[in-house]
């Protein structure tokens, strides 16, 4: 290789680092448009509906950000546990138990008239705690019986989803009083005092203080992972459990607390979804956010900033996708295919760029 080419290499690489993800997104968008065209829908309509749903109005942006908040919380929990080499795939169930607990406290915990924001805070804490317990169960199973946490968190997730179903089907639990045969299997709406305060003061904007909570927790997570002794211990136990135990670290406790933390984040996400936007519990309450949050966590490569970026990306993508379904009649399945395509393109280009960074041997 000539000296000139070697000298020119870094610049070219920097350019590629930007160009590759861009090209990947553009390519996946083009394929998506092609798919929409093949399905017989109007491509311009679909594009318009997508943009409208994602960024079109202040309301749309707010809704997308709220969605991102839930995804980010699940993702943050994921990277915490992942630091200890634990893969928490139970975000969906943790959201569900968080939602159940928050609903129960908000509706029947007599928190309505409490001062100092306790009416909002207590249901949030209940959701967080429920999620933590749900995660800790998987941790205890792992430490005591060696059960793989991928299996246990996933199965606990299914249990949690069925628990939501049960709670909203039974009037002895959370179902609203049955006044007629048309009464839906849902909980009552939670009292206004227990709902999350808005962020902007504009009653039309869906943005709520969940965003602030999320950003604060992202900073805390980043500090814990990068700067804290606890984070280093998680890393040690994740890399080499035997060596960590030899060094006197409480191995079982660390593993359980890692999964409990991941669960707590999921539970909090559930409580925020309930108190910030949905206001009542129904079947399908967790709406796949747990699994999207898992993908966000995986793609973030263990960085809190990466989780925030990924969550925003997914939040807008989902909002736009839903609007595309409703407004432009693009089939739901096709929307999912398109979203999958974009995710694969972005994830793939991230890996490609990383390889480029390493350079040839």
């Amino acid at each position: 290789m000539t000296a000139l080419a070697v000298a020119g290499l870094p610049d070219r690489r920097r350019l590629l680092r930007l160009a590759i993800p861009l090209a990947a997104v553009v390519a996946s968008l083009l394929v998506s448009l092609l798919l929409i065209a093949i399905s017989g829908r109007s491509v311009p309509d679909a594009i318009e509906a997508f943009l409208d749903g994602a960024f079109g109005t202040a309301f749309a942006i707010g809704a997308s950000i709220n969605r991102a908040v839930a995804l980010a919380l699940v993702g943050l929990g994921f990277i915490l546990a992942f630091r200890a080499n634990l893969t928490n795939v139970g975000g969906e169930g943790q959201i569900a138990v968080g939602g159940i607990a928050a609903t129960a406290i908000a509706l029947y915990g007599h928190v309505d008239g409490l001062p100092l924001g306790l009416a909002v805070l207590l249901p949030l804490l209940a959701g967080t705690l429920a999620g933590a317990v749900w995660g800790a169960i998987a941790g205890v199973l792992k430490v005591r019986f060696g059960t793989n946490e991928v299996i246990s968190t996933l199965l606990l997730g299914f249990i949690a989803l069925l628990m939501v179903y049960w709670s909203v089907q039974s009037t002895d639990l959370l179902r609203q009083p049955q006044t007629s045969s048309a009464t839906l299997p849902e909980s009552l709406q939670i009292p206004v005092a227990t709902r999350l305060p808005g962020l902007t003061g504009d009653p039309e904007s869906p943005l709520h203080i969940g965003l602030v909570i999320c950003i604060i927790l992202a900073i805390v997570t980043a500090v814990v992972l990068r700067r804290s002794t606890f984070g280093l211990r998680l890393r040690a136990i994740g890399l080499n459990e035997l060596a960590a135990r030899r060094a006197g670290m409480p191995g079982g406790l660390l593993l359980v607390s890692a999964l409990a933390l991941a669960g707590a984040f999921g539970g909090l996400a559930g409580a925020i979804m309930l108190q910030g936007e949905q206001y009542y519990l129904k079947t399908g309450f967790s709406s796949g956010y747990g699994f999207d949050g898992l993908v966000v966590g995986l793609l973030s490569r263990g960085s809190a900033t990466g989780v925030l970026a990924g969550a925003l990306f997914f939040g807008f993508l989902r909002s736009g996708g839903i609007s595309m379904e409703i407004m432009a009649g693009v089939p739901a399945a096709l929307t999912l295919v398109i979203q999958g395509l974009i995710v694969v393109a972005v994830a793939g280009s991230v890996i490609l760029v990383e390889k480029l960074g390493e350079g040839p041997r």
């Binding site: 002794t229 960590a244 006197g248």
Partner: protein, 530 residues
Amino acid sequence: MLQISPAPTGKAAAPQTRPLLALENLGKRFGSLRAVDDISLEIHAGEVHCLLGENGAGKSTLCNLIFGVYRPDDGIMRFASREWVPAGPAEALDSGIAMVHQHFSLVPRMTVVENLMLGQSKGLLHHRDFAARICDIAERFGFSLDPEAVVGELSVGERQRTEIVKCLMREPQLLVLDEPTAVLPPGEIGSLLDICRRVADSGRAVILVTHKLAEIARVADRVTVLRGGRLVAEAEMATADMGALVRAMVGREVKSLDAALAEDRDAVAASVAPESDGNPSRPRALVCDGLTVRDRHGSTRLENFTLEIGAGEVVGLAGVEGNGQSELGMVLAGLLRPTAGRFFIGDAELTEAGAAAVTAAGGGIVPEDRHAVASVTAMTVAENMFLNKLGQFTRFGLLRRGALNDAAGGLMRDFDVRAAGPDATFSGLSGGNQQKAVLARELTLDPLVALVAAQPTRGLDINAVEAVYRQFRAAARRGAGVLLISSELDELIAVADRIVVLYRGRLVGERPALASERDAIGALMSGHAA
């Protein structure tokens, strides 16, 4: 350079004049480090060519260049008279170069034949044919290997033979073995060297990397010595001067270990002379009382192990590996609950207390497996050196990394741990420096009451071994009781005050640590009651 042999004229050297592999001015840099620097070398068919050098001398890098793992920055290689520019290990294997790495790449839960079929079978599996070929190769090179044995249940030596068969199945012209004896117990080294000899006698070339001189004397036709990435000596084995080879390898005169340690021992004698063995006033450092370990299949790994070590005493535990040493080590490290029995460090009973309590009671542990138990290799040197003391560097839950790195830097100077800095990744250190870092961590416990070290010098070069021994003696001088678990008898005789022998999980005898007791101890190790 010591002695340059212009052409292979030695005893077993190749009949043909053309070298099988020729390196010309080969160089490889990693950053600013010249791992291989201007090396020219010829390897001939039919010879065992030993590459001798300390850790970090460039032996492994050189092998990896030949095997196509790395590409050289300078120089050229010729293999079988053609220019050799391998794109990677796959091309090397196809072209007739095979390599046995230090770390095996076998699937433990599969059988030998299944493992061998993994890389070399396409389409349908011909289980029986493969098994027959394995037996055939084993027979040709004079060893035995059960093709249906599950790899995880094989001894290290058998696993290594599996790797060798894997290589030989490809009928290579050149077999490269990277420190094959470092992982072997003493009993298995001889048979490995025999295999090397037979492979060479079958008309192939063998490159054997090692830093143990005794092996070279036994098997090599020619020796090349590397130091700091450069070729510093080359010799025909028939005419080689071992002393000169050692000097070339370490770059200085090495006092014989015995002499070095004798000085130490005199110093010990002078400082704690009045106290003799059996003195009841000497405080106890480590007491094992009837320790028994049964594995989950119910077979007894360690039986009624009773031993008392006084402060300032070094006791050697001799035994061929697999006779209960690992289990004893795990129990004393606080990682395995014994089935029966108790143990104490100082006056504290720690049988059920766990690893943190062992550390708190002043029990320093140097585990047998540096990578699996002693360290987290993906973390930094500083993190590893204070893995058990991270709390000291924590304020409000946050790690004070500056203070941690400063402290680690100090320890690295004290214990001569050579690394780019406290922030360097532990896995990047040579084996000797890794061991010194582990020692630094365990020896700086305050107070250090007892030190248990298992196979502490395995894979280390001479200089590092010497440093480790000095640290043990120094610890004993400061009043710690030292239990040295080793399968190297010379090491035990050199360092210990007395030697106890473990055979099939039981203590079978005790001897003073004298060279004259060598045979008696050896007999006990092999199960012959003295």
